[in-house]
Every structure is written in C-alpha cells, then in structure tokens.
C-alpha cells in the first residue's frame, strides 16, 4: 500500500524532466544516431540543384504572356527514369545506370533571351569561350519538334552544379530550338563517358519529342478563367462549363461550351446565331474579316450581333480536337455595356 503513493510524484517528476529537457545546443556536437536504409534513392536526391531551383523559384522571364508555350509529349528511352517535372523543366530524367547524368527539357516562353545567349551561357558553364556568329551558324542541326534545331556537345569542367571548383571531365550535350513564342532546349549533362554512352538515346529522345494535343474532353472542367468584376456564376447547367450572370443586368447570361471536333464549324455557327436573330448569313470572306481575340493561344473570331431588342456576342475558338464557344445573349443595351468584360473574360481563358 505504501508503494502506491509513490508512482504519482515520480511520474510527474519524470514528465517535468522530459518537458524541460532541451536539445543539443551550442555546446558539444550531437551524434546523429538514427539511420534508415532505402532500397532506391528518392528522386529528389538524384538532382543537384541550386538554392533558387530548390525553392521552386521562377525566373523573371517565366510564364508571362506565354500563350504559345507548347505542351510536350515524348517517349522515354530505355533505361531512363522519368523524374517529376519542375517549374523550369518540362521533362526531367535520370539514368539509373549512369550516376550523375541528368537530362531535361526546358521550355522558355518568349525565347528565353535568344539562342546565342543561351548557348554561350552553357559554354561558359563548361569553362569554354563564346562562339562567333559564324561558328554558331555552322553548328550541326537535328530535328526537334519538326524544325531544325542547333546541336552542341561540350567537354569541360561543369560549373553549373552547386559544387565548388566544378566537376571536371564532364560533357554537356544540348539541342536548342528558337520558335516563335517559345524556345525549347533539351540538355544532357554528366561525366563524359556517361554522356557518350547515352548520346544515341538522347538523340532518339529528341526525335520523339512532340507537341501534345490539348486533350481535355468536353465538359472536363480543365479550362480555367477569371470572372470579370460584377459577374456572378449562375447555376450549373449540363453541356455548359460555366454560366455567368453580369451584375445589374436582366436576362443577360454568358456561358462557355466545349464541344468535340469543330462543333459544326465557324461559318455554320456564326450564321446559325445570325439566323436566330433573323439576320442574313455572312459570306466566308465577311467571316474571315471578323475581329479576333487571342484565346488559348489562338486567334478566335468575335461575332457581335446587336438586334433591335436583343443581341448576341459569340466567340468561337477552334483548338483542333475541340472547339470552345463563349456566348453572351441578352438585351442589346446590356450587351453593349458588357462587351469589354466579355472580351476580357474570353482573353482570361486558360488551360
């Protein structure tokens, strides 16, 4: 019975001691005791990245008006391991059998500062001097995304990693393509022997690179947008991605529909709308002369019909496998008021 009185204070004392116990501060170094064994390294451990990259920071040139930045698809060469893409790398690989080797694809909207500047920056990373314009022009070409791209292989000491003094005996292979709207670079860096061993697979990888078709099926909701001020989202309706009701209007609604294929084609849709408002059809030339709005990287014709009482604003954006329709209907005066916001809304559509 006597013993029973004891555990209490003891437990409390133990608890207090535990609570007060600090951690290894200032004084002696604390030994690291815990250890675990992984069968494979974590993907992120195979990448040597600088601090900026590690924190997922974006370069200043990033994104911006990059409407034309292509979505890419590819075949992974045998023996390569695909790593998670990062903000700067559209595709990212390691080759498990070749330690220290990395390969990645970069897409820089807006050209990323020009071909020459980039090639020379890489040469500098390899401890080499810049190329003269003539040398640049004389570089061999390979096919990339259906166009001729520059190919460059550089041996030297790689200083691009986060390593003091650089990595001697390294090779960088690079394919660079400057396209309107975006530059595409494919690079492989690693110990010279490793790069040599993988160069053929690197080239076949470059050849396999292609543009991905925008694939979301109708109504998938993949499309994003920014609602103009004062627009309220209306109740969800089938076949429509979204419906908006502009504030302060009556009988006006704006909605987005995505249909597979051409959705009947530009001409028939425009003329169908016109016929609903009892207007004559337009000729193909007249339709071609319609003003356009940049939507989802395409120039989409804008149809404006202002009838005596009611009217229609319509936009047809043909993406190939699917067509996006944005429509606003309602009384003519309200449509005139909302036109600016309608156009802004169409511009805000993004994948």
């Amino acid at each position: 019975m006597r013993a029973l009185t004891k555990p209490g204070p003891l437990l409390i004392a133990a608890f207090l001691a535990a609570a007060a116990a600090g951690c290894g501060r200032d004084g002696d170094p604390v030994p690291i005791e815990e250890k675990r064994v992984l069968a494979q390294p974590r993907p992120e451990q195979t990448v040597a990245a600088d601090t900026m990259k590690r924190m997922g920071a974006q370069p200043d040139a990033g994104r911006g008006a990059g409407a034309a930045a292509p979505q890419l698809a590819w075949d992974v060469p045998e023996g390569w391991a695909e790593l998670a893409p990062t903000q700067l790398r559209a595709a990212n690989f390691s080759v498990p059998a070749m330690p220290g080797l990395e390969c990645y694809v970069t897409v820089l909207p807006g050209g990323g500062g020009g071909l020459a500047a980039n090639l020379n920056r890489w040469r500098k990373q390899m401890g080499l001097g810049p190329l003269a314009d003539a040398e640049l022009a004389a570089l061999p070409r390979v096919k990339l995304l259906g166009a001729d791209a520059h190919f460059l292989a550089m041996d030297g000491t790689y200083t691009g990693g986060n390593v003091e003094g650089g990595l001697p005996g390294y090779t960088m292979a690079a394919v660079a393509l400057d396209r309107p709207g975006a530059a595409v670079f494919v690079k492989m860096i690693g110990p010279t022997a490793a790069v040599r061993a993988e160069i053929d697979r690197f080239k076949s990888f470059c050849a396999s690179l292609r543009e991905k078709n925008a694939e979301p099926p109708p109504g998938d909701g993949e499309l994003k947008w920014k609602a103009p001020e004062g627009w309220t989202q209306g109740p969800a309706k089938s076949m429509r991605l979204v419906t908006f009701v502009p504030a302060g209007t009556t009988g006006v609604e704006c909605y987005v529909t995505v249909l597979a294929g051409t959705g009947g084609g530009l001409e028939s849709n425009v003329n169908r709308w016109r016929s609903q408002l009892k207007l004559e059809p337009l000729s193909a030339a007249e339709i071609a002369a319609l003003p356009t709005v940049p939507v989802l990287g395409h120039s989409a014709p804008l149809v404006e019909i202002y009838g005596a009482e009611s009217g229609l604003l319509g936009l047809v954006c043909e993406l190939g496998p699917q067509t996006v329709f944005v429509k606003m209907t309602g009384p003519t005066p309200s449509l005139r008021d909302e036109r600016e916001r309608f156009v802004a809304f169409c511009r805000s559509l993004s994948d």
Partner: protein, 667 residues
C-alpha cells in the same frame, strides 16, 4: 379579373423583364414568344391528380423522394410555411403549388410565395414595398425588377462567413437562393415548347419530312437518325462535315437547358448510383450520349402529352396515370420506389405535430390534477402521454424504415429521439415512484421537445432525411455510439428537469410538510444521473472507438467530443460529491440543473463554435434560444442558492450540514 387578363396586363405593363429572361430561350426558339403568354385559363387540379403527383418519385439531394416531400420543403424554404395563397385567395398545398410551377409557370410567378422577413432587405435591393408589412410575402414578378441587384449583392454577401453576416445580408443570400430555386423549377419544361420544324431545319425535313413538326420526344426517339446531322467530330457514322446548324443549335440549347426536376429514371441497365434525368438531361443523353434511351424518351413522351393537356383537368388526370405507371415501373426496377408510399404516409400522418398536440393536452390534464386531484387524472394523463409517445415512436420508426438507418443521424432526429427517451424514462420513473411528478414532467418534456423539433424543422426548411457524408455511412456506429450518447443526453436533461421541480418546489413552498416528497425527487434525480452517466460514459468511449476506426485516433479533443466528455465529468463530479457527502438532496438538484445546461452546450452549443469535425453547420436561430435557456437556468440556480441559504438556519439543518465536507463514507 380572369387570370388571363391579369397576366396580359402584366405583360403589357412592365418593361419586359420577364420577357428578357425568356429571351435566352427565345433565341433558340422563335416560336416560343407566342406560346409564353398564358393563352389557356387554369383550373384547379383534381384532388386525385394532386395525390398522384404527390406520390411521384423525384431525385433530389442525393436520394429519390416523393414529389410532395420536395414540394413541401421547397415551399417551406421559400414561403416560411407549407402552403401558398394565390392572388385569388385560393390556398394551395405544396404539391399543387409545385404543379402550378411546372405546368403554369406564368401563373406561379404571380403567387406571393417568397417570404421576406424584413423590408430592409428590399430597401437594400432598391425594391419598393408600399402597402406591405415589415414581414411579408412577394411574388416572383414583384422581385423580378431587382433580380440583377439581388444576385449581385448575394454573391458579395456569400463571401462573408455565414455566422458573420448580419440579418439583412443573410436574408439577401437566402432570397437569392430561393429565387434561383424557383427559376430552376419553373424552367423545368421550357425545352418542350421549342422544337425545330421541317420547314426551318434541313435535318428534320430529311428525317421527318418537309412539313413535319415533330414533338420534342419525337425528335429524341429518332436521335440515332439525326446524329449524323449534329456534326460531332467523333461520330464514326457522322458525315464529318459541319452538320445541320439549326439542329445543332437546337440540340446545344436543349442539352444545356436549365436544371429543373429530375423526374425521369435513368435507362434500364444504368449504374445503381446513376443520376435521374431532367428533360434536358434526357435530351443530352439521347442526342449526345451513348446509352439506349428508349425508355426515358418514352416516359418523356408521356410527359409531353401531359404538358399539352394541362388545360383539360380530366384528360390531364387520365394521362398522368400512364405517366406515373411508367415512372414507377422504372423506379421500382431500380429498387428506388419501395419506400415512397411510406414516406408519403409519414408526412401525411403529421405524427410529430399530433404528438405535440397530445402532449400539450396531457399537460393540461396533469395541471388540472394538481389543482383538483382525483383518481381519474393520473390514469387519463398516463393514457394521453402514452398516446403521444406512441405517435412519436411510430414517427421515429417510420423514419428509420424509410432511411434504412438507426434513429439518430442528424441534429433534427436527435431532438425527436431525446424527447422520446426522456418521456419514456420519466414514465418508468413514474412507474417506480408513483408520485405524479415524473408523469407531469413527461408531458412538459414531450410538449417542449415536440415544439423544439417542429420549430427546428420549420426554421431549417431542408429535407430532414438528407444524404449522409461518407464517415457517417455506417449503421453499426450510428446505432451504437450515436444512440447511446443521445440517450445519455436525454437522461441528463430529465435529471435537470426533476432538479427544477425540487428547487422551484422549495422556493414556492410546494408540499412544504412532506419531506418524503423531496426525498423521492432526490432519488429520482440520482437515478437519472446514474442512468445518464452509464450511457454518456459508454457512448463517449464508443465514439472514441469509432473515431479510432475511421480516423486513427481515439480522442482528438474535438469540440463535440469535449462536450460529451464534459457531461461525463460533470456527472462524475456530482455522483462522487454525493458519495463523499459534499452535497445532499438540494445540492443534487442544483447540480443536475447545471448538468442540463452542460448537456445543452454539448448538444447545441458546440455547433455554434464553428470549429471541429462535428460542426454540423451554423444553427443561427438556435443561438438566441440557447442564450435564453442559459439565462433561465442561471436564475433558477441563483434562486435555488438563495432559497437554500435562507432556509439553512430555519430548521432544515440537515441539508445545511450536508453541504459541508463531512466524514467520508465509502460504499
């Protein structure tokens, strides 16, 4: 003035707001403008037809329910009551109102079925309201001029957290929601009114003939032949060309038409959790989808005929039967009809309303007995309470059968169940002690509980048989944990109720010379506390075990868990204090009154905190009631304390002595 003339006057008189709304639809169907004007007069529906519609199944809120249930809760939400009066002064029941909304939307727009609690909300919207009282009803047509402003403000206020909105903001959000709901219902069948004719549409001319004017369902029935003209790129049989723009345009408008009611069961062979279809949904599936839509399209054809017969009550009634037969057969084949008649019977029975009436009646009898005791009164009271209890239990049982769930899975059901538990428990206490006190209490608890339940249902105005979130989808835990904990609540509240009798009895000198009366009360309170503790402890631990099984932690200090724990702790304190001689009869009464307040906090209070996993939504109307209750209990406790203090010297020394720490006796 005839309806027709009124409607025309309205059309001419206003600046075309209604027309503007319809414009969207008119664009797709030029013929619609002529049809939209109420051309036919509208007689009242036959009683049998209304009955038939009341029993129609419809899918809403994740389950298939009778149309009458949907109508009744929708109207309750819009109008604050289960009824609506036409401008002619005819009182409509919910199903009739819904039928008018579906078949005569032009007329339904004139019914004052939107309750606005405070004209301030209308001032906000810039709507005039001369001649209306502060809390009054408005028609859709009345509200229409401010529709744009209403939605604009509502979307602004919607961003404010519900509990931070002021009352006007809350009302605006509510009203906007109600207007949307009304629009969704009334626009259910607009699609039926506009179909392309052979004369305007090449595809229709090709399939049906040049002069054909096929019906809506007629077109859907031949969707397969029309498909190539829809210009669908992925259609292997498609021409690949652009298709017929008129047909394509019509199909798009129809398939994307507003929501409306899901009255059409999915085609045979559809998945068990397939959605029921609206007319637009049937069209979308038939035109663009892949499933065999023969059966839904045939059902839609029946409905379309019905729609055309709306002016002829007899023919309408007859056609409605064959429509009903098709829908019921399809629903039955999916196993979604079995409980519909029972649910209709449940709501027709108004069990909880009658239970309230009966309990009030029982209370009056009991009260009479206290004034003029006779032998007959207790028996009569017992009989009446038994009847009320029977109604309550019958209602709860029917709900269990309809939902296929144990009695408690929502806050509303907890009121019903707790009332039943406390009434039955007090009858058992009465049977043991035969003092008439517990019996009287049972009438008060029954009447109060039923009042609370009915008020809550009115206030929330949502289906009280909602679909349950994933974690609650387990009858085992609902039956064990929820039921046990709820019984614990009931016992705690009953103990508090008996405590009130003790305290108020002492203050008002009730049975001053019968110490045995108070001793009995004390033993009843004690018994209830024990009963409550048993169920609270077990229920709370069971809740932990459930949480351990679904979230991986036994105890998470979540507010609702803490509420249950608080009840357990308080009851433990009281029972140990009694055992240790710290409190006696009066003290137990005081403690049990406080305990009832603890139960109320756990039951309702924690929901108001708005944090935690068990936060079942903000129950705004409850807050004031709850505060009122706390104030009342505080007054009772103060009065009880004063009473004890004053009587302490005056002879009741036994009580006083026992309030002080005394020698501890165990066992």
């Amino acid at each position: 003035m005839s309806r027709n003339a009124r409607a025309e006057g309205r059309e001419g008189g206003r600046a075309g707001g209604w027309r503007a709304i319809l414009l969207v639809l008119a664009l797709a169907a030029p013929a619609f403008a002529e049809e939209s004007r109420p051309a036919e007069s509208h007689a009242r529906w036959n009683r049998e037809t209304v009955d038939l519609f009341a029993r129609l199944p419809v899918q809403e809120g994740g389950r298939v329910k009778p149309l009458s249930t949907f109508a009744s809760f929708t109207l309750l939400a819009l109008n604050g009551r289960r009824g609506c009066t036409t401008p002619e002064g005819v009182r409509l029941e919910p199903t009739e109102w819904l039928m008018d909304c579906l078949f005569w939307p032009e007329h339904a727009s004139l019914y004052s079925c939107f309750l606005v609690q405070d004209t301030q909300a209308l001032d906000d919207l810039g709507l005039a309201h001369e001649g209306k009282s502060r809390r009054d009803r408005y028609s859709y047509t009345d509200l229409l001029p401010a529709r744009g402003k209403l939605f604009e403000l509502a979307s602004q206020y919607d961003r404010i957290e519900a509990k931070l909105r002021n009352s006007v903001q809350g009302q605006v959000v509510n009203l906007a929601h109600n207007v949307m709901q009304f629009e969704s219902i009334t626009s259910s069948f607009y699609v039926l009114r506009s179909t392309p004719a052979g004369a305007d549409c090449a595809a229709i001319a090709r399939v049906f003939g040049k002069d054909a004017r096929p019906s809506f369902s007629g077109i859907l029935a031949r969707a397969a032949e029309l498909r190539p003209y829809l210009g669908m790129a992925d259609d292997p049989h498609g021409s690949g060309a652009s298709g017929d723009p008129v047909l394509r345009g019509w199909a798009e408008e129809v398939a994307g038409s507003p929501g409306g009611l899901a009255l059409f069961p999915p085609p045979p062979g559809a998945a068990a959790d397939a959605e029921w279809l609206t007319p637009g949904g049937v069209a979308a599936e038939a035109l663009f989808g892949g499933a065999d839509m023969k059966q839904p399209v045939e059902t839609l054809a029946e409905f379309e005929l019905l729609f055309r017969l709306r002016g002829d009550a007899t023919a309408f009634g007859a056609r409605a039967e064959s429509f009903r037969d098709r829908v019921v057969a399809a629903a039955r084949a999916r196993g979604e009809y079995d409980k519909i008649p029972l649910e209709v019977a449940f709501y027709r029975g108004q069990f909880f309303y009658y239970a309230q009436v009966v309990f009030v009646f029982a209370f009056l009898i009991a009260a009479f007995g206290w004034i003029k005791p006779t032998k007959l009164v207790p028996r009569l009271t017992t009989g009446t309470v038994a009847l009320g209890t029977l109604l309550l239990v019958a209602g709860i049982t029917m709900r269990c059968i309809i939902r296929g769930r144990p009695p408690v899975s929502t806050l509303y059901e907890s009121i019903l169940f707790i009332t039943a538990v406390s009434v039955i428990a007090s009858m058992v206490a009465e049977w043991i002690n035969r003092q008439g006190i517990a019996l009287t209490l049972s009438t008060i608890l029954g009447a109060g509980g039923m009042f609370l339940a009915n008020r809550y249902e009115m206030q929330e105005a949502v289906d009280t048989m909602p679909s349950l979130v994933a974690v609650l989808d387990t009858n085992f835990w609902l039956a064990s944990h929820v039921t046990t904990v709820t019984i614990g609540y009931g016992a705690g509240l009953l103990a508090g109720a008996i405590g009130h009798v003790t305290i108020l009895g002492r203050i008002f000198g009730l049975k001053r010379n019968e110490p045995s009366f108070y001793r009995t009360l004390a033993s009843m309170t004690y018994g209830m506390l024990c009963f409550g503790l048993l169920f609270s402890v077990v229920g709370t631990v069971l809740g932990g075990i459930w949480a351990n099984d679904s979230w991986g932690r036994f105890w998470g200090w979540d507010p609702k868990e803490n509420g249950a724990l608080a009840i357990v702790l308080w009851e433990l304190i009281v029972l140990h204090a009694r055992k240790g001689g710290y409190i006696r009869d009066h003290g137990i009464a005081m403690c049990s009154v406080f305990g009832a307040a603890v139960v109320a906090s756990s039951w309702w209070g924690v929901n108001l905190l708005g944090v935690g996993l068990h936060s079942y939504g903000f129950t705004s109307g409850i807050l004031l009631t709850l505060i009122g209750y706390y104030v009342f209990e505080a007054l009772v406790l103060v009065a009880g304390g004063v009473a004890w203090y004053l009587k302490r010297g005056a002879g009741d020394s036994a009580v006083a002595a026992r309030m002080l720490p005394g020698p501890e006796k165990v066992g």
